[in-house]
């Protein structure tokens, strides 16, 4: 036989062995796993993503969210190396952090494609994020995470929101955010001292009146640095009068997807420890 052919076969076979063992066999073992149902009347778990949530999965996918967020809750017995107050080494950090109530198993993912398990936790795990936060929270957090967590290093996805002039009354979908987050979408805005002075000149009395009404704090001297600072912070926390931030379809879809993520909620028999 030809020499090159022998090398070819050798290389082919070594490689094929790993493909058989690591790919084909698990493929065979798990490919046709059915959804779980205790009785025919009950809704099977899991169910395929549909409509807006499916579109949202695509948004999650194309923006690479999974490069910071995993979607897998690990076992109660996984992850040693932390000590409880009594000095005993404990496991199961994922579940104890409240990221999910049980570990994930292959069946949780049978309708996922692509299956974004993730390999990095720069941010927290999202397998069960749908049961942790509301839609409003998700919208604000997606628009600018630092509006909720000052320490967050997550990117702002303000480009998925549009800033619109209010016609008539404010939309129900408008994000409930103060002007410091909405004047420059994606950033945290502060007026320069001159701008602030001009604003005070123009509508200072209204702001002060509103401050007194809403905080219930009696302030007699408006000239001290502390009260000036208080007034600025108050004003920054109030929404812009003429403008509102509305989610685009992409943002609505993404939030629908996040809310649908409940991968560690429904009890599965094989997920028991």
């Amino acid at each position: 036989m030809d020499r090159g052919m022998i090398l070819f076969i050798g290389v082919l076979l070594t490689f094929t062995s790993s493909w058989l063992g690591l790919v084909l066999f698990p493929f065979w073992q798990l490919q046709n796993q059915p959804a779980f149902q205790t009785s025919p009347e009950e809704e099977p778990y899991p169910r395929p993503l549909q409509g807006l949530a499916w579109t949202g999965m695509k948004v999650y996918q194309k923006n690479g969210c999974m490069y910071c967020h995993s979607q897998q809750i690990r076992s109660e017995r996984f992850g040693n190396w932390w000590e409880d107050p009594t000095g005993i080494m404990r496991t199961g950090g994922d579940i104890r952090r409240g990221w999910g109530t049980r570990r994930n198993v292959p069946r949780d993912y049978i309708y996922d494609s692509p299956t974004m398990l993730g390999t990095m936790r720069t941010g927290p795990d999202l397998a069960n994020i749908g049961s942790r936060y509301s839609a409003t929270w998700q919208h604000i957090h997606t628009y600018n995470p630092r509006a909720l967590n000052s320490w967050s290093i997550m990117p702002s996805f303000a480009f998925m929101y549009r800033k619109e002039r209010i016609v008539g009354s404010r939309s129900e979908k408008a994000l409930p955010l103060g002007r410091e987050w909405t004047v420059r979408p994606g950033y945290r805005w502060r007026p320069s001292p001159n701008e602030w002075a001009a604003i005070l000149q123009q509508s200072g009395d209204q702001i002060k009146a509103r401050f007194l009404r809403e905080s219930g704090q009696p302030i007699s001297d408006w000239t001290t640095p502390e009260t000036q600072q208080q007034l600025l912070e108050f004003w920054l926390a109030t929404p812009e009068e003429d403008w509102q931030i509305l989610p685009t379809e992409e943002a609505e879809a993404l939030v629908a997807y996040l809310l649908s993520l409940r991968k560690a909620e429904y009890p599965l028999p094989e997920a028991k420890e």
């Binding site: 090159g4 090398l7 070819f8 050798g10 290389v11 082919l12 070594t14 490689f15 062995s17 790993s18 493909w19 063992g21 690591l22 790919v23 698990p26 493929f27 798990l30 490919q31 796993q33 996918q61 194309k62 923006n63 690479g64 969210c65 490069y67 910071c68 995993s70 897998q72 996984f78 992850g79 040693n80 190396w81 932390w82 950090g93 994930n104 198993v105 069946r107 993912y109 049978i110 494609s113 692509p114 299956t115 974004m116 398990l117 993730g118 390999t119 990095m120 936790r121 320490w151 967050s152 290093i153 997550m154 990117p155 702002s156 996805f157 303000a158 480009f159 979408p185 994606g186 950033y187």
Partner: protein, 503 residues
């Protein structure tokens, strides 16, 4: 006496001519692969820097979909892994295969086509991802429309490497050729099978990440590693003028790598929702990797023993030896990292990112830098323009990757310890890791400066603005007995018609 000297000189001249002819035949295609690889290295470096900065300064360039972290990170990986590393690896395959088989390159046009296809694929991948077609499948983020171009490009290279191998004039198959042949078979299969099972006929649920990690690990293990190790097996002995320490070990190492590396990938899913035996099988594969790694380590380092002073004189050797040392280090680290106790901490952290860069940059990129410094002057017939720039490149890259690795290893380890402890609030982990992420940006800036120096050197060399090579050891040694008038000038050899050079 005089007769023997002349006979020896004649042999020497003949050997030199043969080598120059071969190098000249490779010039066009190999330079095309090398130059475009370097272009993608620069693109990849800038994307990397951007992603790194955004991770500790989230307000930097915020508000644009194209430059959002997730997309930039995916684009960076495609630019450096498929653009830079793979194109450089293919350049290495082509040139080394010609030299080791002692035959000229044939059908260069086919290779220009391969290079063009691969570059079209990489452009589609990087631009597609930034514009919102990324797939979020690690290492396979390229949009599906890039796949056929990648497969066609590497397919042509494989066909060409096999054709060259079959035309070989050198009877002995050197260990580098084993590695190259194996790699050019493995990679097209690997890529085709992985993309088929994930995108074209998607497998169910968790099978996808299993196939994904089998691919990812083998991308490094069965594509870049064999070519990198093979290159070092040629460059180190060739520069030192010293055969490798144990040729027997090198062949053993090759087969051990082929057997065990392909099994190692699934430990990246340790603790995840996959059958436990898969991760265990991979841990075994990872531990067995000690065998080929030790074989290669003994060979590379024992060949160097007693010759470390050469690092001072040879730019190519510096990079290559750095790469060889990084290979030993990263492989030992990888085997240990696959152990369950260790992985429970390091998984899901920046520790793994540090490890990946020690492999892909400290080992693979440094070996290819070494290859460039050795190969390019022999292809163009021109000397490198500036030793200072070469030194700048080396120190920026070496210090840069060391700082990168150290920062992320320390930061990542403690990040993992804190993640495992539910009593540590998530905010604390984010605040803890940020100085390390900032250090990574410093390291990345250094590496990018090195790459710019490298690109300047490369462009000057290619454009011919620098000095011409005139004999000297880098092209071929001058037989000292011949008088200058009898000596063929290096550039005259490079530009002479082929028939004139045939002995």
């Amino acid at each position: 006496m005089a007769v023997t000297i002349l006979a020896r000189d004649h042999l020497r001249l003949q050997a030199a001519q043969e080598r120059v002819t071969i190098d000249r035949s490779c010039r066009g295609p190999v330079l095309a692969f090398s130059a475009t690889a370097l272009f993608w290295l620069l693109v990849g470096s800038l994307l990397a820097l951007l992603a790194s900065l955004k991770l500790h300064s989230p307000y930097f360039l915020t508000g644009s979909a194209i430059w959002t972290f997730g997309r930039v990170r995916m684009a960076h990986l495609q630019a450096v892994a498929l653009g830079w590393s793979s194109l450089a690896a293919m350049a290495a395959c082509l040139w080394l295969m010609c030299r080791l088989a002692r035959v000229e390159l044939i059908y260069p046009r086919m290779l220009y086509l391969a290079c063009a296809l691969w570059n079209v694929a990489t452009t589609l991948a990087v631009a597609g991802i930034l514009l919102g077609d990324g797939t979020s499948v690690e290492w396979l983020d390229a949009p599906t429309y890039a796949h056929p171009f990648f497969v066609a490009g590497v397919g042509l290279v494989t066909a060409w490497v096999v054709a060259t191998f079959r035309r070989r004039r050198e009877a002995h198959v050197y260990v580098t050729q084993w590695y190259i042949l194996a790699a050019v078979f493995w990679f097209p299969w690997l890529y085709t099978v992985a993309t088929l099972m994930i995108f074209w006929i998607p497998a169910t649920g968790v099978i996808q990440p299993v196939v994904n990690w089998w691919f990812n690990h083998n991308f490094l293990g069965l594509w870049l590693t064999p070519i990198g190790v093979g290159t070092a097996y040629y460059i180190i002995p060739k520069i030192l003028g010293r055969p490798i320490h144990s040729y027997y070990l090198s062949i053993t190492g090759f087969w051990a790598l082929a057997l065990f590396y392909s099994w190692a990938g699934i430990h990246h899913l340790i603790g995840g929702p996959i059958p436990a035996w898969l991760a265990t099988a991979s841990t075994v594969g990872s531990m067995m990797m000690f065998i080929p790694v030790i074989a290669v380590a003994i060979n590379h380092h024992m060949t160097m023993i007693g010759h470390f002073h050469r690092l001072k004189y040879s730019p190519a050797l510096r990079f290559t030896v750095f790469g060889a040392i990084a290979y030993t280090a990263v492989s030992f680290q990888g085997s240990i990292e696959s152990l369950k106790d260790f992985s429970e901490v390091a998984h899901f952290t920046h520790y793994t990112v540090g490890h990946a860069h020690l492999g892909a940059y400290g080992f693979v990129a440094m070996i290819f830098f070494g290859l460039y410094y050795y190969m390019i002057p022999r292809l163009t017939g021109r000397e490198w323009y500036s030793s200072k720039l070469i030194r700048l490149h080396f120190w920026c890259s070496a210090v840069g990757i060391t700082l990168y690795f150290t920062a992320l290893s320390i930061g990542g380890w403690w990040q993992g310890r804190m993640l495992n402890n539910p009593n540590v609030p998530f905010a604390n982990i984010i605040m803890y890791i940020q100085p390390y992420l900032a250090l990574r940006s410093v390291a990345g800036t250094m590496m990018t400066i090195g790459h710019i120096a490298f690109a300047i050197l490369f462009i000057i060399n290619l454009a011919g603005w620098g000095r011409q090579r005139s004999g000297g050891p880098t092209l071929f040694a001058q037989p000292p007995q011949l008088t200058p008038s009898e000596l063929p000038k290096a550039d005259s050899l490079m530009n002479a018609p082929v028939t004139q050079l045939q002995p």
